[in-house]
């Protein structure tokens, strides 16, 4: 446990972008809420304005969380692809290997950083940002609406969404993460090309020699299948963020996010666990390579 904490700390020292990127995004959004202009169009009475703004605030929270999450996903992908390659490239692997830390701990530690710790960091930043923005916008809106816009129940839903997202996407994308780590432990150069070209070549070879698309379909199902497995897709997650102003100015209240969680289906799906098993095999491969490959 102690070693795990130090392994995480060390990653924060090395990859300052882990917190610099979300911090910069937070500052940007807070500045926008401080100085940005806003107006409510088409409102008839004060109650309508309130509900429009509240619904808008919920859309905003979802939007901010999604932005944080997407940027995190991109950075995390890059991190997993680079982490085992970087210290071979600069030879610092020889220093890390002089420590009494097993290669399994090293690889699993980096995986945990990319899949759990990093999303949690972004989650905290997204949370602080939404809280601050809600406060700022409330204060600014007070002149026109008269009281605070805060709705705790919506905020709690965002918390639940983040945690559900972190857990399920870590499990679902484990095979892709494992592949990235494998490439990172193996490649002598051009990690990005090594990550992309072999699957592409496999798809092409299959197409040319067998005329089938099994690999492409499997990959597509993995990348595109997350939402349909983790969420109730028929309703469409897009429904979260559309607040409709219906006839005669009736407002449909923001829906409950947790209603769309499909945890039972997700954790019962064979696809989930077959993918996770493939991920574990790839990660074990990355550990073996890490034991054998010290330098480039």
């Amino acid at each position: 446990m102690n070693v795990a904490i130090w392994l995480v700390r060390r990653e924060f020292w090395e990859n300052r972008a882990i917190w610099v990127i979300p911090a910069a995004l937070s500052i940007l959004l807070i500045l926008a809420s401080l100085f940005g202009g806003y107006q409510v169009v088409g409102a008839v009475d004060l109650a309508t304005v309130r509900s429009v703004v509240e619904a808008g605030a919920f859309d905003g929270m979802i939007f901010i969380s999604a932005t944080f999450y997407l940027i995190m996903a991109i950075y995390s992908t890059w991190y997993l692809l680079d982490c085992l390659y970087a210290d071979r490239k600069d030879r610092s692997i020889l220093f890390w290997k002089s420590m009494p830390i097993s290669d399994t701990a090293t690889v699993v530690g980096k995986l945990g950083l990319g899949l759990i710790v990093m999303p949690l960091v972004y989650f905290v930043f997204a949370d602080l940002t939404t809280l601050l923005m809600a406060f700022i916008i409330s204060v600014r809106a007070r002149t026109s609406i008269g009281s605070s816009l805060w709705r705790g129940d919506l905020w709690l839903q965002i918390q639940a969404m983040w945690l559900y997202l972190i857990v399920t996407s870590a499990v679902w994308f484990l095979p892709l993460s494992g592949w990235l780590l494998l490439v990172s432990a193996w490649a002598k150069r051009a990690v990005i090309l090594w990550a992309i070209l072999p699957p592409l070549a496999l798809m092409l070879a299959e197409r040319v020699f067998l005329g089938t698309y099994v690999v492409a379909r499997l990959l597509g199902a993995r990348i595109g299948g997350y939402l349909s497995h983790a969420f109730i897709y028929s309703a469409g997650p897009a429904n979260w963020v559309t607040t409709q102003v219906g006839h005669e100015s009736t407002i449909e209240a923001p829906v409950s996010v947790s209603r769309f969680f499909n945890a039972e289906y997700f954790f019962a799906s064979p696809e989930t666990w077959i993918g996770a098993a493939v991920g574990v095999v790839l990660i074990a491969g990355a550990v073996q390579l890490r034991m054998r490959r010290t330098e480039i």
Binding site: R9, R10, W13, S98, P100, I101, R292
Partner: protein
């Protein structure tokens, strides 16, 4: 007590190239052993195997462990500096100390700080800001603060100026070495380590060609410088190597017939460097 390092038929192949060819050697506790060989002789491969950094064939036991399978456990009791330029450039000196203190059960923080206090290096510096000599000091402080049984050094002074080199070896001998510790060191600059070694292992083409303590070298080997007219008589004693220098010829003998040699000229014990040249040139003849 079994030897600290025991290698039998240690073999390492890279494709068709054989870097270690059934190397067999032992290292006992309390010794400073020089693993000496020309470039490409297999020194680094041998050390990598000892440290568990590479897979190998043959038998190898270090501190009773199998290095490749048990590297993490081995690193509790053994430490190494494989080239001093490997400290990550982004790491701060104080963070490096924090990290090692956090993960290494045998690390003594006060010892590291004491060693660093003797230098000009402050904790807030990053490795990339330090000169090579300073990095050496940091790495040495981190390593010497570990209460390890085995210290392995691979070309530790490569790329250092002469002052840093001598400071490095002084610190090693004066501040670190004691009867409970063992040091295995590789270098191709024999002269530099000659005075601190207790044992030598000569390695050539992946094989151990000589394993001896320095005391044994003094009894097993002799060199005698003779003038050209005495060359014939000297050759009769079957030298294994000859070297011409300044009008004289130095002849090297194994298990020498000392009374006979003393009649030819002044007999001396060859230096490790000379013996190295003599031993390895023989293979070339």
């Amino acid at each position: 007590m079994p030897p600290l390092i025991e290698a039998r038929d240690l073999t390492k192949r890279y494709g068709k190239h054989v870097a270690l060819d059934r190397a067999t050697f032992t290292v006992e506790t309390g010794r400073i052993v020089g693993l000496i060989g020309p470039n490409g002789a297999g020194k680094t491969s041998a050390l990598r195997a000892v440290l568990g950094l590479t897979a190998y064939e043959g038998q190898l036991r270090v501190l009773g462990r199998e290095p490749f399978r048990e590297r993490a456990a081995l690193m509790d009791e053994a430490c190494f500096i494989a080239d001093v330029a490997v400290l990550p450039s982004w790491l701060r000196v104080d963070n490096a100390i924090d990290f090692v203190a956090g993960v290494h059960p045998r690390f003594r923080r006060d010892r590291a700080q004491e060693l660093l206090a003797k230098t000009q290096i402050t904790g807030n510096r990053r490795m990339r800001e330090l000169s090579k000599g300073m990095k050496t000091q940091v790495h040495l402080a981190l390593t010497m603060a570990v209460d390890a049984k085995l210290l392995v050094l691979d070309e530790p002074t490569l790329g250092l100026d002469i002052l840093s080199r001598s400071a490095f070896y002084d610190a090693l001998v004066n501040d670190y070495m004691d009867a409970t510790r063992t040091i295995l060191i590789t270098t191709h600059q024999v002269e530099e380590v000659e005075n601190l070694l207790t044992d030598v292992l000569f390695i050539d083409k992946g094989r151990i060609v000589l394993a001896s303590s320095l005391e044994d070298i003094a009894t097993r080997y002799a060199a005698v410088a003779v003038a050209a007219d005495a060359l014939g008589a000297a050759r009769a004693e079957k030298p294994f190597h000859e070297r011409r220098m300044l009008g004289k010829v130095v002849l090297y003998f194994e298990n020498p017939n000392l009374p006979a040699l003393e009649r030819l000229g002044e007999v001396h014990t060859p230096s490790v460097a000379d013996l190295f040249v003599a031993k390895l040139s023989r293979g070339a003849e």
